[in-house]
């Protein structure tokens, strides 16, 4: 049985050690924060200048001046601080974020990431902070469905969509598996979702899969 989105987020959260400074992209990545136990201190950074986000606010205790990159209301953790946008992206681009988690349209076996524009899209593509995070974070993990809605593999030999960053993805968490992206090698299977076989994974992946 493939992982649900919540299970994918929980699986990724298991791999985040105490003390890391982590930036979570919009969508499934944001769910990761809910699965890090409060006893394990992780510093969640948001590109709009919040360093140290806490859990979502309780009803009636929202502060309209406190939002994350996804424009959702947030709270502050003890120890939180604020910076402006130039300083926030200096932190991101200067290699001070231990981990960035993003969604993706495609990840290639050389670690290339495509997550901001599709050729089908006739309106202006929106890049936001994705290119900065791809180029600047110490490590980038992708969390996404293994295939598109019409069944095409999102793990590919070479990205077809415009790139966000080159050779930047280190690990991919999907509903079917966890895979490392190893330089000079490609996708290496770390873990399979319960009930998913390696053959099934190979059938749904448009790139060679390695095992250790």
């Amino acid at each position: 049985m493939p992982f649900t989105r919540d299970q994918m987020a929980a699986r990724l959260a298991d791999d985040v050690p105490e003390g890391w400074c982590v930036n979570l992209g919009i969508g499934i990545p944001t769910m990761v924060a809910n699965h890090v136990p409060p006893t394990r201190e992780v510093i969640f950074q948001s590109e709009n200048g919040v360093i140290g986000m806490g859990p979502a606010p309780a009803k009636g205790h929202e502060d309209p001046w406190l939002i994350n990159a996804g424009k959702q209301l947030i709270t502050l953790a003890k120890g939180a601080s604020f910076v402006g946008h130039a300083d926030s992206f200096a932190m991101i681009r200067g290699g001070h974020i231990d981990l960035c988690v993003l969604g993706a349209f495609e990840v290639a076996e050389n670690g290339d990431l495509a997550n901001w524009a599709t050729s089908e899209n006739d309106t202006a593509p929106a890049v936001g902070g994705a290119m900065d995070l791809a180029a600047g974070a110490k490590r980038l993990w992708v969390i996404m469905e293994h295939t598109t809605k019409d069944g095409r593999s999102k793990l590919v030999e070479r990205c077809g969509y415009p790139l966000t960053g080159l050779a930047c993805v280190r690990r991919v968490y999907t509903n079917l598996a966890v895979l490392d992206v190893v330089p000079e090698k490609g996708f290496v299977v770390v873990d399979l979702a319960p009930g998913v076989t390696l053959d099934e994974l190979r059938a749904k992946t448009a790139a060679p899969l390695h095992t250790n």
């Binding site: 001046w65 424009k71 200096a90 681009r93 202006a124 890049v127 902070g129 994705a130």
Partner: protein, 231 residues
């Protein structure tokens, strides 16, 4: 006596010229100079280049300014939004120019303009479509893109508190693009919730020194007026 506080939104926006590049602070609805944007609609300047993170939501604020045909070009990182109808229509019809800039590059280009740096190199966008038309160069075997400073004629920004020197204190995540835009424009105009006596703001809490601010206008609507849905 130095006194940058003006008494009306019209006074705050007086003299903004046609053809100006306008830096507009805010991220989502937080730190957005919404009253100044309304004031700019009123003021009448046209043929504007708007530099901001998003390309407007619904039919208010910057979207309204665009719908009125007053914006020639948008420089932003994220033209999509929860309701991008105005921008998308204009863009499809070729009636507005778009320059997409990665968010960090946008902030850094604005900072560069404020800090006297005409150009810098960054790894962001290297090897991607957004490198096109730009110089690329290797340092220590890694590829970087040269990015140019992005100055404004005018900056419209929002802050929580100000004094008559124009010193600004932000609230929560309300700083975002505001401090860096304040540095980068010829004419920086701030809307603030509260005016304080000179000396009341803690010297270490002031994120934008008044040196960067030309005009301050108070738009006190209490602490609850902001709804978090926009953007």
């Amino acid at each position: 006596m130095i006194n940058k506080i003006v008494q009306s939104v019209a006074d705050a926006l007086a003299g903004v010229k046609d053809g100006s590049t306008v830096l507009i602070g805010g991220f989502g609805s937080v730190g957005q100079p919404d009253v100044l944007i309304e004031g700019l609609i009123e003021q009448g300047a046209s043929n504007l280049t708007a530099v901001l993170n998003n390309a407007g939501v619904g039919r208010i604020g910057v979207a309204r300014l665009m719908e009125l045909g007053r914006v020639r070009k948008i420089v932003c990182s994220f033209p999509r939004s929860s309701d991008p109808v105005v921008f998308e229509t204009l863009y499809r019809e070729g009636r507005i120019e778009l320059e997409i800039v990665p968010q960090g590059t946008l902030a850094e280009r604005i900072r560069a303009a404020g800090a006297g740096i005409p150009a810098f190199y960054t790894a962001t966008a290297a090897g991607t479509k957004l490198e096109q038309g730009k110089e690329a160069r290797e340092f220590e075997g890694k590829r970087y893109v040269m990015e140019r400073a992005l100055p404004g004629d005018v900056a419209l920004i929002e802050a929580w508190e100000a004094d008559r020197w124009g010193n600004l204190v932000y609230r929560g995540s309300g700083a975002n693009f505001n401090p860096v835009m304040a540095m980068a424009a010829e004419l920086t105009i701030a809307q603030v919730q509260h005016i304080r006596e000179l000396g009341e703001l803690h010297p270490h809490m002031i994120m934008t020194p008044g040196v960067y601010v030309n005009r301050v206008v108070q738009v006190d609507r209490g602490g609850d007026w902001l709804t978090p849905e926009a953007g």
